[in-house]
Amino acid sequence: MAQGFPEIFDVRALGRAIDTGFNQIVADYGATLEAIFLPILKLLLAMEKILQWLPWWVVILVLAALAYAASRRWGIALAVAVMTFAIGLIGVWDAAMATIALMVVATLLAVIVGLPIGVAMSRSKRMQSITLPVLDVMQTMPIFVYLIPFVMLFGPGKIPALLATIVFAIPPVIRLTNLGIRGVDPEIVEATRAFGASPAQILLSVQIPLALPTILAGINQTTMMALSMVVIASMIGAGGLGYQVLQGIQRLQISSGLMAGLGIVLLAIIFDRIAQSYGKRMQKSLKLDH
């Protein structure tokens, strides 16, 4: 008979303790947390409404203009316009707008939270050595595991979907902010200190501008990860393209899954093109100076 692993302590009891503890948190703070996140929910819903209310050609024009502003190249603007048009063509326009809203709000919040954490990491070795393993765990933990506590706290809906997306997508912006600031030429930082710049002045006038290409690469990765999370987040009520994929699975209807999947791919390419061409242009303008 094969020998089982000896039970050194009672794991079931530990599990029960975690569950009851978390249930207690849900009971005590659930309502408070919901109230705290209400404004974010409103922002998300408003964003979704606006995107779906706008005439389709306005959205195409806005995205193309964004692409041109980022790249200063007509080719990329045209490609973005064509791809956005294609999203409407395959019949997933409204779902795609909902997905864009979720992705944009998730990325925005990830940047607002992640940037200061990255900055703090770049300034303190201890902060870095605490944060890095946490980020590693966040990135290796299966995505589904995040869904459980958020659903328990908020019930199925857009807020837990948004929060799980943020947790999943935030590591790159933190990592690359830290990396970018640490990579700024120490001689330049020393020069600004020699001229009497305060730590805040050094951060704002030198470190962040010079780290910007790296930080933007992090934001781009965060955007892509948020987009890849939409299918999974739709299981707990995120709606959008992911929901249509989920329906395809449930109804064993390959066409609906395929069209929605194609929509996600198109969105990914559109936002990646915009972010990357901006990053590249910025890098070039800094390169020029070295």
Binding site: G196, P209, L286, D289
Partner: protein, 338 residues
């Protein structure tokens, strides 16, 4: 009581490592640099440095790489904190300044030029030049007007809106110089400021610095590993080796009477006839004859006069006082020392 000295460095030592205080005690007890590194993994960067720098002079600190000269210059504006000792600027102990006072000291009193320029690559020439003024809170328009003057002073008018990467090395360093001059700081620290430039540009920059200095009378602390540069620019020269000062003096003093073998070897290849003045070699005495030499002219420029006669020549100070006499034999002796 005030002293004639702008900057005084008193018994400054710097040890790099995890526990510099303990290591300092060991050094004070007589441990040498090599033993310290072997036994406790601390590096003795500077040991018991004493310097007095006069207002309005160019003071050159010279040494080869690893001598501690770049560490030393960073003590003047406290980019590096000493392990022991005091640094006084205008009788203020720089080490006693708190963070806010130190920032104000760096903004108003002391500025710096770096070996590899250290310009901000994302800002234009003009924005770089006014960086010190802007962080000190000067209104943009006023700073830009002032910056434009500095840009013109270093002959870069017309390049205000270029980015550093579009300029040659020599031009970039002139931006660095303009940035340092813009804050009207009385003290200018120059850390191997011209070492990264090619020889012709370097010589132009040296002459330009002398010209600017003749007008502005800053107190300049200049770091270099180049003896010719030190002799050209320095009113006083300090020679640093392995974190210890070997000799401090004027260029001619160091050439004529090097303090030790190291300094002697260092200065061996210098064309001393171009540096040593007649005054430095003159011995007490009185001579006849009509030909007179001035104390601050170089030996080389006196060759023609010396060639005319075997007799001693009178050497006079700039104010007409007698400085002594000089003979051909003395000149040959001095030049033959190498």
């Amino acid at each position: 009581m005030t002293t004639p000295f702008k900057i005084r460095v008193e018994q400054v030592s710097k040890i790099f490592g995890p526990d510099p205080k303990t290591a300092m005690a060991a050094v004070n007890a007589g441990m040498g640099k090599a033993a310290l590194l072997a036994q406790s993994n601390h590096v003795l960067g500077l040991h018991n440095i004493n310097l007095n720098i006069r207002a309005g002079e160019t003071f050159v600190i010279m040494g080869l790489s690893g001598s501690g000269k770049s560490t030393l210059i960073r003590h003047f504006n406290r980019l590096i904190e000493p392990t022991a000792g005091r640094i006084l600027v205008d009788d203020t102990d720089v080490l006693s300044l708190n963070a806010a006072d130190l920032r104000s000291f760096r903004r108003k009193k002391i500025s710096m030029v770096f070996q590899r320029f250290a310009l901000l690559p994302h800002k234009t020439v003009l924005e770089n030049v006014i960086y010190g003024l802007v962080i000190d809170g000067m209104p943009k328009a006023q700073a830009r007007a002032k910056g434009a003057e500095q840009v013109a002073l270093v002959d870069l008018a017309g390049f205000e809106n270029h980015y550093p990467g579009q300029l040659s090395g020599g031009m970039q360093q002139r931006v660095g110089l303009a940035r340092a001059l813009a804050t009207d700081a009385e003290i200018l620290l120059m850390d191997e400021a011209f070492s990264a430039l090619d020889p012709l540009i370097r010589h132009d920059m040296q002459l330009q610095l002398r010209e600017i200095q003749a007008r502005l009378h800053k107190t300049i602390v200049f770091i270099t590993h180049d003896l010719d540069e030190a002799l050209l620019l320095g009113d006083h020269i300090a020679i640093l080796k392995d974190g210890v000062l070997r000799q401090v003096g004027t260029g001619p003093e160091i050439l004529v009477s090097p303090a030790d073998d190291y300094v002697a070897r260092f200065v061996r290849d210098v064309n001393r006839a171009r540096i040593v003045t007649c005054g430095a070699l003159a011995v007490p005495g009185q001579a006849g004859g009509d030909i007179e030499l001035s104390a601050d002219q170089t030996i080389e420029s006196a060759y023609a006069a010396l060639a005319q006669t075997d007799a001693p020549l009178t050497v006079r100070q700039a104010n007409g006082d007698l400085a002594g006499v000089l003979t051909r034999q003395q000149v040959f002796d001095a030049l033959a020392r190498a």
